[in-house]
């Protein structure tokens, strides 16, 4: 479930495809219980997501749910799934608060913004050695939460932080740009989605601001290069709790996934595709153990302990994944390339 046709569908279709791939692979093994995957297009609207979840529970009688994709809708749908005792695994909802509700049937395969934000902040002051950082958020639930997490960690590390906010629907960011130019930061962090990030980068570079530009998973999309222009986007660094197969992939498992994915959907696997696959694989593995009811599946998920494509899949009791790696990506020559784990990656 997620926004399959709306403005942010770029972040939701890849994991949905990934999940589909996992289901197909599982069904191809001729198991006793074949799986059927139903997609629900919530357009990222929480109220719609609730109606759809109710439909899924009552009419379609689903036993497990991959999603919801975004944090806003997860917050609304969570209590519903909890009361209906349907296990869910989200491949991309990263808000911190989700894990603090005590939900037993809720899981995710990505580390949250409380992990992502500080990891990026550490990278900014560490590998990038920035002292003065300007943090902008896009006033969205996601952008603001992440921005605040980065701000907090930067301050504890002793960096000077100045900040501002912008409206992602607007186009003229000159006031934000002027403010950044006046603050003369070493680095800029933007918490928000790629459409806003692209416009901001372009206007910054046109104003002659050359400070290193950082962003996070919401901006990890080729769209950022499209709207910023390849020249302006050069050297932009983007953190993400996700692992995206890149052209120069060395990991065998990831490579195989990328090939299969491309063969099936005719496109390269993008953001959260591997996570969508892993989320669904968690379910198929649980179901393969013989669990068919929602409750049994949930119990089996709790015991999951296997190597997914991107990480070792194992859940903490609150539904968070045990593996908490954040990866850093860099824009180079109009392409997004993997730089490595934030704790070890070096700037070239």
């Amino acid at each position: 479930m997620g926004d399959l046709s709306g403005e942010n569908s770029g972040i939701v279709i890849p994991p949905s495809n990934g999940a589909q791939l996992a289901v197909d692979e599982y069904n191809a093994t001729n198991p006793k219980v074949k799986l059927e995957m139903i997609k629900y297009d919530s357009k990222a609207d929480p109220t719609t997501a609730v109606s759809l979840a109710q439909q899924a529970i009552k009419q379609d009688k689903v036993v497990a749910l991959v999603g919801p994709a975004f944090s806003g809708e997860s917050k609304q749908v969570g209590p519903l799934l909890e009361e209906a005792k349907i296990p869910s695994i989200s491949a991309s909802a990263t808000a911190v608060a989700l894990a603090q509700n005590g939900w037993k049937y809720w899981h995710r395969v990505v580390p949250n913004d409380g992990v992502q934000g500080p990891a990026i902040a550490d990278f900014i002051v560490g590998a990038a050695a920035a002292k003065k950082v300007f943090v902008v958020d896009d006033k969205s639930e996601y952008g603001k939460g992440l921005g605040d997490a980065v701000r907090g960690q930067l301050k504890t590390k002793g960096a000077t932080v100045t900040d501002d906010a912008l409206d992602p629907a607007a186009t003229d960011y000159s006031s934000t740009v002027t403010k950044i130019a006046a603050a003369k930061p070493d680095a800029i962090f933007f918490g928000g989605y790629y459409a806003g990030a692209g416009k901001l980068i372009k206007q910054l570079r046109d104003k002659g601001v050359t400070a290193k530009f950082f962003s996070a998973d919401g901006s990890l999309d080729k769209g950022i290069i499209d709207s910023a222009g390849a020249a302006q986007a050069e050297g932009v660094l983007i953190g993400c709790p996700c692992r995206i197969p890149t052209a120069a992939e060395t990991d065998e498992k990831v490579k195989k996934f990328a090939t299969d994915y491309k063969a099936k959907f005719g496109a390269d696997p993008l953001i959260y595709a591997t996570e969508g696959y892993d989320a669904m694989t968690t379910f198929t593995k649980a179901i393969a153990t013989g669990a068919t009811t929602a409750d049994a599946i949930n119990a089996a998920i709790g015991k999951s302990d296997f190597d997914g494509i991107t990480k070792h899949i194992k859940f903490d009791p609150n539904g968070e994944p045990s593996a908490k790696s954040i990866y850093m990506y860099e824009v180079k020559g109009g392409q997004i390339g993997l730089l490595g784990d934030t704790t070890t990656a070096k700037l070239g």
Binding site: A165, A170, T171, S175, K179, A182, K199, K202
Partner: protein
């Protein structure tokens, strides 16, 4: 708080004026249609969007990847402006023909026309998101996403004022907008068709008695308003190099606010209101943070209307001449 504004006063001012000039151009369409028909043309924001799309299309079809120079640049810019203007003017007239004229003929209320406008606005946005961008522009990924447009001119700094670098494109945009508005002002005040427009906006019945062809006047009004919005769209693409199916919405609301601020129905008011709004937004953002931009813009609108209920320059096309 204020040191931010004082420290970068000139950059905020320049950016405000340039944004304001674009607001002003779009505001003209609202103000003219309002002057003649007493109608809030809600779909005008989509007319602007179509202008940005058409000029983006020109850049794409020309296959521009590197910034142009010399005559190629002049030609490219002219093509962009022409395409934007033509597409917008055409769609504005089509809009009038389909969504407004039938209502006018039936004596429907302005409220009905407003709903028709909202409907048309939704339809046009979706049309671009679902059909035109994916199939005509051949960008299936970007139906609802932002679409980047290649850089057509080098954005070099021309000169600096008080620490603000002023780029070539910014000068071009400002000069072009103000120039268009002066031309329009001359057109309305000096030509026969302009006299018809003024007469209709003052008193449509008497205008009919005096032999003014109102249908024609309304068509011309939409044509001019659309043309201005299309040119604004081309300039917008030149400056920001992006567009999107929903790009008109926020800009449309702002331009309409600018029209009301300046005194709706008043051509010069549109320019004054646009520049005023652009400046207020940027100064406000400097003081309170960019997140408060729109709140400040609307609060100022309410305040201005409380003290000057007909806007800064007053209402009619007539008064503006004095």
């Amino acid at each position: 708080m204020f040191d931010n504004l004082l420290g970068s006063f000139w950059p905020y001012t320049i950016d405000g004026l340039i944004l304001g000039a674009i607001y002003g151009l779009v505001a003209l369409g609202y103000t003219m249609v309002y002057g003649v028909l007493r109608l809030i043309n809600f779909a005008h924001s989509e007319v602007f969007m179509i202008g940005t799309m058409a000029s983006a299309f020109v850049v794409m079809t020309l296959g521009i990847t590197q910034p142009l120079t010399g005559f190629a640049l002049v030609g490219g810019l002219l093509l962009m402006v022409l395409a934007g203007g033509a597409a917008s003017a055409g769609s504005a007239m089509l809009l009038e023909r389909i969504a407004y004229r039938p209502l006018r003929k039936r004596g429907a209320s302005r409220l009905a026309a407003l709903i028709s406008a909202i409907g048309a606005s939704l339809f046009l946005q979706e049309l671009f998101a679902l059909v035109i961008i994916p199939h005509v522009f051949n960008r299936p990924q970007q139906g609802r996403n932002q679409m980047g447009v290649a850089r057509i001119m080098q954005k070099d700094t021309l000169f600096t004022i008080g620490g603000a670098q002023i780029r070539v494109d910014q000068v071009l945009i400002f000069v072009a907008s103000i120039g268009m508005m002066i031309l329009l002002d001359l057109l309305v005040n000096r030509t026969k068709i302009g006299r018809g427009i003024r007469a209709t906006s003052q008193d449509p019945e008497t205008a009919v008695l005096m032999g003014v062809d109102i249908d024609k006047i309304v068509r011309v009004t939409f044509l001019i308003g659309g043309l201005m919005a299309g040119i604004a769209g081309a300039l917008f693409v030149l400056q920001f190099e992006v567009t999107k199916f929903s790009i008109g919405f926020l800009l449309g609301i702002k331009a309409f606010t600018a029209a009301v601020l300046g005194g709706i129905g008043n051509l010069r008011g549109a320019l004054v209101g646009g520049l005023f709004l652009g400046l207020i937004e940027n100064y406000g953002a400097a003081i309170f943070g960019s997140g408060w931009k729109d709140v400040i813009a609307f609060t100022v609108l309410v305040l201005v209307l409380m003290f000057r209920p007909t806007g800064i320059l007053g209402e009619s096309l007539q008064q503006a001449r004095a």
